[in-house]
Symmetry: D3
Subunit: 130 residues, 6 copies
C-alpha cells in the first residue's frame, strides 16, 4: 500500500512535468520501472524545500553538464512545461557550458533545437526523443 | 577601455557573490585572471534572462554533478550569500545526486559541511577553501 | 613470434566472449587492431586471479558508469554468453546506476533492451551494435 | 514502520560490509542520512539476483571508473570484508583501468595501498578514510 | 565595433581550420553564436604562445578524452587541414586512449574513420558530421 | 627477454620525461608496475609518428580535461622537461578549459603553480607530487 502511494505520487509528478513513461523500461523490468516512478519521481522529486520548477532547473543543469548521449530531450520539454522561456533555457545552457565545457553547449543547443522543432510542429503523445 | 569595464563588472559580480579572487591565479597568469574576471564573471554571469541567484543554483548543480576535487566550496558560500537556506542546498545536493550518482552526494555533503563549519566559526577574509 | 602468441590468445578470448572483431578498426589501423586484440584481450583479459566471467561483470559495470554513446552493446552480449541472466544484468544496471546517476540507468536499459531484442530475433554474425 | 524496517535492513547490510556510518552526513541532514541507509543500503543493496559480494565488486569497479576524489577507500575495506584477496582487487583495478584510463589505475592503487597500510596497523573503529 | 573585430577574427580562424559554422546554433540563438565565434574562436584560439596547429592537437585530445557523442568529427577535419597525417591522428587516439580508457579509442576510431570516408568521397560544403 | 627490453625502453623514456617511478605502485604490485613501465611507457610512448614532446602535450591536455584529483603534477614537470615554457602551458590550460569547463582551469592552474613553486625552490629527487 505504501508502495501504491509512492507510485501514484510519482505518476502525478510525471504528469505535472509532462513526462511520458518509457514503455521500454517498464517492459524490460517492472522492478526498475517502480524504482524510477516510485523512488525517483515519487520520493525524491516530491521532497520539500525546492519547487518542481527549481528541481527541473537543477536537473537540466546536471544533465547538460554530464553530456549524456540520450535522456536530455525530455527534460527540455519538462522545463518548458514548468514555465521556463526559450531564452532562459539558452542562458542556462551557456551558464552550464562555461563550467562543463563548450562541447556540452554544442550538444545541448542541438538537442534543445530538436525539442523546439517538435513542439512547433505540435506533437501529440510521447516525443520521439523520450 | 572596454576591457576595463568588463573587469569592473566582473569584480562587482564577484562581490555580490561573496567571492574572493584567487591570488594564486592572478600571480600565475594575469591573462588567465582577466579571462576569469572579465569574461566569466563580467560577460557571462551578467547576461540577461536569469538572475544571479538562478545562475548560482545552476552553477552549484553543475559543479556537484562534475564532482571536481576542488573549487566547489566557494560556490556553497555564494549560494548562502544569494539567500539559499541550508535545507535548500541539501535538497539540491540530493536532487543532483540522483542524476549524477551517490558519490557526488557524499563529496558535496562533506564539502558543504566544511563550509557551514567555517561560517559558524565566523571566518573573515577569504575561506581556506577558495 | 611472441606477438603471434598474444594475438592468438586475444582472438581466443574474444571467441569465448562471443565478440566479433570490428572490421572498422582493423582497416583503419592494423597497429591499433593489434593493440586491442594482442594487448587488451591477449594480455589483460587473460591475467590470473579473476575469471573471464568476473572480468566481464567488471567491464560492464565500468562501461555503464562511463555512459559512453557507443561500445556497450557488445558487452551485454558477452555478459549473456558468460552466463549472466537477464535479471542479473538488470540488477547490475540498478546497482551501478545508484553510484553513477539515473541517466546511466536510462541509457543502459535502452541499450540492453536493444541487445535482447536482437538476440530474440536470432541474429547470426556480428550484431549491428558492434 | 516500513521506514524503520528499511533503516534496520540498511544498518544490517552496512555491518556485513564493515561500513561505518559517516557521522558527518547524519549530523548535516537526518533526511539525507535516511536516504543513504534506508534507500541505498536498505532497498538497493538488499535486492535479489546478485550477492552482496557481487554488488561490492560492481560498486568498486564503478567507483574506480568514476575516479572520485573521496569515498572509495571504504569500499576497498568492504571488498576485503567480502573475501576478495589483495591480488583480486589489484586485478580489478587493472581491468577497470583499461576501460577508464591509466590515471584511474594510479588513483586506485594509491587509495588501495592506503587502506592496506591501515589494515596492517590493525585499526579499530572507523577508518580515517571514511 | 570591438565586437565586430572579434567576430571577424573568429570567422577567419574558422576558415583556416576548415570549420563550417553550424546554422543550427546561429538560428537558435544569435547570442550563443556570437559567443562561439567571437569569444571561443576570436578571442581564445587567437591567443599567443601556441600555434593553431598545436591548439587543434590539444582540442582533439580533449574531445577524445571527454568522449562526447557529437561534435568531434569536425575537429578531425580541422586536424587534417592543419597538416596532421592519418597516422599521426591514429597515434593521438592511442595516446589519449591510454589515459582515458579503451572505449574512448573505440569511439574516436569510428568517428575518424567516418571523416576519412567522407574526405575520400570528396565532399564539398559542410560535412554531415558538423 | 622481450619483456626485459620493454622495461628498459620504458625506464629510458621515463628518464627523458624526468619521471620518477612511484615506489608505491611497485611495492603494491610488481605486475602492475611492469604494465606501467613496460606497456605504457615502453610500448606506447615509444610508438612512431609523434614525438615525445607531442605525446606529452597530448597527455597533459587529456589529464587536464579529465580533472583527476591526483597524477597531473608529474606531467607538468615532464612538459617543462620537454621544453614547453610556462606561458605555453598556461595557454594549454586555457585552451583545454574552454572545452572541458572552468573548474578544470582552476584545478590545473593550482596544480601547475604548485609544480612551479617546487621547481623554483630547486627540488631534488622525486617531487612530493608524484
Amino acid at each position: 500500500m505504501e508502495n501504491e502511494e509512492r507510485m501514484k505520487r510519482g505518476y502525478d509528478i510525471c504528469k505535472q512535468l509532462d513526462r511520458h513513461v518509457s514503455p521500454h523500461q517498464q517492459e524490460l523490468s517492472p522492478g526498475l520501472h517502480e524504482l524510477t516512478i516510485g523512488h525517483l519521481f515519487g520520493d525524491i522529486w516530491s521532497r520539500p524545500h525546492l519547487t518542481l520548477r527549481e528541481r527541473e532547473m537543477i536537473t537540466v543543469a546536471t544533465n547538460i553538464a554530464l553530456c549524456r548521449p540520450v535522456g536530455n530531450h525530455s527534460h527540455y520539454r519538462s522545463a518548458l512545461k514548468m514555465g521556463f522561456t526559450k531564452e532562459q533555457i539558452i542562458e542556462l545552457i551557456i551558464q552550464v557550458g562555461h563550467y562543463a565545457g563548450w562541447p556540452t553547449i554544442a550538444l545541448a543547443a542541438r538537442q534543445f533545437a530538436e525539442v523546439l522543432e517538435e513542439e512547433e510542429r505540435g506533437h501529440d503523445g510521447p516525443s520521439r526523443f523520450i
